[in-house]
């Protein structure tokens, strides 16, 4: 024990995990995971419909939504780093029971709808993979997926499941390759990415809203903040977390970009009409991968859709359940038994069972169901954003890390934009003649 000599040794840090942690965060941090998960079944469907029906006309929306995403995701990431708390936790502490109750109710509805869409994505993928099995494919695949998600997340290791699905998301690269092989008019593509085009017909407006809605969703804020908080970062690491957030947004949008271009250069260019309420919509969308995969296009598309759906199907119910139980101080945790955490397991199981059951409904218009939550999410955002802004401006919560002028002005603009989109959407529903049908 008594050490002889050995004084004045130079301090050598052979061990330093810290540096590695920060590097890791900027490669596969919470922002990147959230970003990739954002391209879920509803995302793939929304972007694909946009590209198939309107070619490159909606590409500019991606730039707009990226700008919208930045203040939102940056605020929740910052709150996660500084407070180490989840978003619903902060809402409850700041706004009390009643507003939180409403927020959670809306979140539950939106996320339940989105979960249905994810299982529908699984159903659609199964039918594309096993076309000979007809409807039987989804009656088999959906319950299996539901049980799989339930078991893997609660009794397996969620973080490993998440990493595996994240790696499998590389299948999205197929859209980029396919887009290049279809030789789209790149000049026009670039131009339309930065110069807005707008049509005043209901079809365009619906797709426009669903692209906005699938990209900017309430659940992402909750998922991102909890994920960031869990990393236990110090406010001094905020720069890394901001980089992670920016990369995450870029990933979401670049995947969306190539899906739209691939669909635009194939389906739209060949004047194939894709009607979301038509059961064959997905097999038409799959043609967007034909330049790369030829007759295996359907297979590739189905795998991508399956992976995206599984990833979101394991994230969404869990995020929702954590948000709600956290807000109301209910016992929670994936390692708890039913007796220990009845509410946690009930909400989680309900979401999965509900999602799977609706997705199995006979004759359900799959592409329509996967697109519906985009609209719900798009409508909810103008309600969530003011709450986020109040929290992120509160110096009692964030101290000197509260919002600066830039973020507030940008968020204000985003709020005006999202509210505008909602108003336009509602107008198009209540006054169908307004935009010439």
């Amino acid at each position: 024990m008594a050490r002889l000599g050995k004084l004045e040794q130079p301090l050598r840090f052979v061990r330093s995990r810290r540096g590695r942690l920060l590097v890791l965060i900027s490669v596969v941090g919470p922002g990147v995971i959230t970003g990739v998960t954002d391209d879920d079944a509803t995302g793939v469907t929304g972007y694909a419909l946009a590209g198939s029906q309107f070619g490159y006309d909606l590409l500019w929306v991606l730039v707009v939504t990226a700008i919208c995403l930045w203040p939102i995701m940056e605020m929740v990431a910052r709150m996660g780093v500084v407070t180490g708390k989840g978003l619903s936790d902060l809402m409850r502490e700041r706004f009390g029971v009643a507003p939180t109750l409403w927020a959670m109710l809306l979140l539950f509805i939106a996320n339940a709808a989105t979960t249905v869409a994810e299982f529908t994505g699984i159903a659609a993928a199964a039918q594309l993979l096993f076309p000979f099995a007809g409807d039987t494919a989804r009656y088999v695949a959906v319950p299996i997926a539901a049980v799989l998600v339930w078991v893997l997340v609660l009794r397996g290791n969620f973080r490993i499941v998440e990493r595996v699905l994240l790696v499998l998301s590389l299948v999205f690269v197929a859209y980029a390759i396919s887009a290049f092989m279809a030789h789209p008019p790149w000049g026009q593509v670039i131009r339309q990415t930065f110069i807005p085009t707008f049509h005043t017909n209901t079809g365009f407006i619906l797709i426009f809203i669903s692209v906005v809605g699938t990209t900017i969703t309430p659940w992402m804020s909750f998922f991102q903040q909890s994920n960031v908080a869990d990393k236990g970062l110090h406010p001094a690491d905020l720069t890394y977390e901001r980089a992670d957030t920016a990369i995450g947004i870029f990933m979401t949008q670049i995947i969306a970009f190539f899906i739209i271009v691939a669909c635009g250069a194939t389906i739209f260019a060949h004047h194939v009409t894709v009607d979301p309420s038509d059961p064959s919509a997905f097999s038409k969308i799959a043609l967007s991968l034909a330049p790369l995969a030829g007759k295996y296009a359907t297979l590739l598309f189905a795998l991508g859709l399956m992976n995206a759906s599984l990833m979101a199907a394991s994230v969404l119910p869990l995020t929702t359940t954590y948000a709600i139980t956290e807000a109301f101080g209910l016992e929670r945790g994936i390692d708890k038994s039913f007796r220990e955490a009845p509410a946690f397991l009930t909400i989680y199981t309900t979401l999965i069972v509900l999602g799977a059951a609706i997705a199995m409904f006979p004759g359900a218009p799959l592409a329509l169901i996967t697109n519906l939550p985009n609209i719900v999410n798009g409508l909810l955002l103008p309600l969530l954003l003011p709450l986020l802004l109040l929290l992120a401006n509160d110096r009692r919560i964030l101290g000197r890390y509260a919002n600066g002028l830039f973020t507030n002005v940008l968020s204000g603009a985003v709020f005006v934009f999202l509210t505008g989109v909602t108003v336009v959407f509602l107008a198009s529903i209540f006054f169908p003649g307004l935009f010439g049908g």
Binding site: L11, F13, R17, V97, L101, G333, R395
Partner: protein, 416 residues
């Protein structure tokens, strides 16, 4: 029963029944065992807060004052005061009996000897329903169904509020109740708190307890983040009280500059032990070992060795093996505690020590260390450098944590 929610937003009328404003919050003075309501925060009035002594009565969402609205005097704020709605309601608190973190749905007050005291915390669904004005409905539904709808209340004596408000830093919550718990229990609770609250809890523990609790928290990332939020002096004191291997693990998870600073502030002896450990790769015997072993000189007698042991014992992690070295710390042999005790007091230890001692080099892999420990059924194995000088020991529990699959080793699985 009286609850805080009965007061919030209640109409305030003065002695002439004129409407003055509404109640925004109640102020309590942190008296033992139950805090006493001392003031009311108002909204819609010029005077923001008034003394509780000005309140004549309250009933049915109406608070009557003893004076006229124009004569209201401002309440003198004290350091040890808490705003119930802003600082306690909806926040998390530690339920000491249940050893868990719960959320405050409502606060129960009670009138005792003319004082209104904060006596309990409502953590149940009933409190939630009351907050949204649906308690009556819930009660009727329960009655129709023939069910009992109990309140879920915890006594204020059995809770420990965690501060989570930047503005309330001045108010040092003592955390005395929490500090009395077992380190493993504190660690369990600390897991569920936010980083600031965690550091607040640690600020209230003494160095030894803080060190033990920190060791119980097995996620090094969380350990580091707790220390990072404490001031340097305090953090280095806690590090000194920790086992050197745990302290080294923890420092490895901090930004280098911060770790350097902490090491400089530590006592030289302890800092030296930790620094040595930091120089090894974490997946080797060197990275896993601790310097908390017992070594004695081969020239000592059994009695002298036992004396030496008494001197060293408080620091040592494992005393079952006593290693025997020469003056340059070359490992010569090993004794079990039993050997030492049964030997005649004046026998030289080199005459009865076991000379064939199993050891591992500092760069041995963890798997190899585990294999040696398992094969020879050891509680600990010494780690030596290339000149056979003892550098530390790896204990069986440290190796178990690393060799077993993480799911078994982790005490709890959490996602967020």
């Amino acid at each position: 029963m009286i609850f805080l929610s009965d007061f919030l937003n209640a109409e305030v009328v003065d002695v002439k029944q004129h409407r003055v404003g509404r109640v925004q919050d109640l102020i309590v003075l942190m008296t033992d065992p139950f805090p006493k309501v001392t003031g009311v925060i108002l909204k819609g009035t010029k005077v923001r807060s008034i003394d509780w002594s000005l309140v004549r009565s309250w009933d049915n969402k109406e608070l009557s004052l003893k004076v006229e609205g124009s004569q209201l005097q401002a309440h003198q704020r004290l350091e040890a005061e808490l705003w119930l709605s802003r600082q306690v309601l909806d926040k998390q608190i530690v339920d000491m009996d249940g050893r868990r973190v719960v959320r405050v749905n409502d606060l129960q007050l009670s009138q005792v000897d003319g004082n209104l005291l904060l006596v309990g915390v409502d953590i149940g669904a009933r409190g939630l329903m009351r907050r949204v004005g649906l308690e009556g409905l819930g009660r009727r539904v329960a009655a129709i169904l023939g069910l009992d709808w109990p309140h879920k209340l915890i006594s204020w004596e059995a809770v420990d509020p965690v501060k989570s408000d930047v503005s309330s830093v001045k108010l040092r919550i003592a955390h005395t109740k929490l500090a009395a718990m077992h380190p493993a229990d504190i660690a369990e609770i600390v897991h569920e708190l936010s980083p600031d609250d965690r550091s607040a809890v640690f600020a209230a523990l003494d160095d030894e307890k803080a060190a033990d609790t920190l060791e119980e928290i097995q996620e090094t990332g969380m350990q580091a983040s707790i220390l990072e939020r404490l001031d340097v002096e305090r953090a280095s004191d806690i590090l000194e009280a920790m086992k050197p291997d745990e302290a080294a693990d923890l420092l490895a998870d901090m930004p280098k500059e911060r770790a350097q600073l902490l090491l400089q502030k530590m006592e030289e002896d302890e800092a030296e032990d930790v620094e040595e450990l930091l120089a090894y790769r974490e997946d080797t015997a060197g990275g896993l070992m601790t310097t908390g072993y017992v070594a004695v000189l081969h020239t000592l007698t059994a009695a002298q060795a036992i004396d030496r042991l008494r001197e060293l014992e408080p620091d040592a992690e494992s005393v079952y093996y006593v290693y025997v070295t020469d003056e340059e710390e070359h490992l010569l042999g090993v004794l079990s505690l039993r050997d030492l005790i049964v030997a005649k007091p004046d026998t030289r230890i080199r005459d009865f020590m076991i000379e064939k001692v199993m050891s591992v080099p500092v760069d041995a892999s963890i798997r190899d260390v585990g294999a040696v420990i398992a094969k020879y059924n050891l509680l600990a194995v010494p780690v030596v450098d290339q000149h056979n000088r003892i550098q530390g020991i790896v204990t069986v529990d440290d190796v178990m944590d690393r060799v077993l699959p993480p799911r078994v080793a982790a005490r709890r699985r959490r996602i967020f």
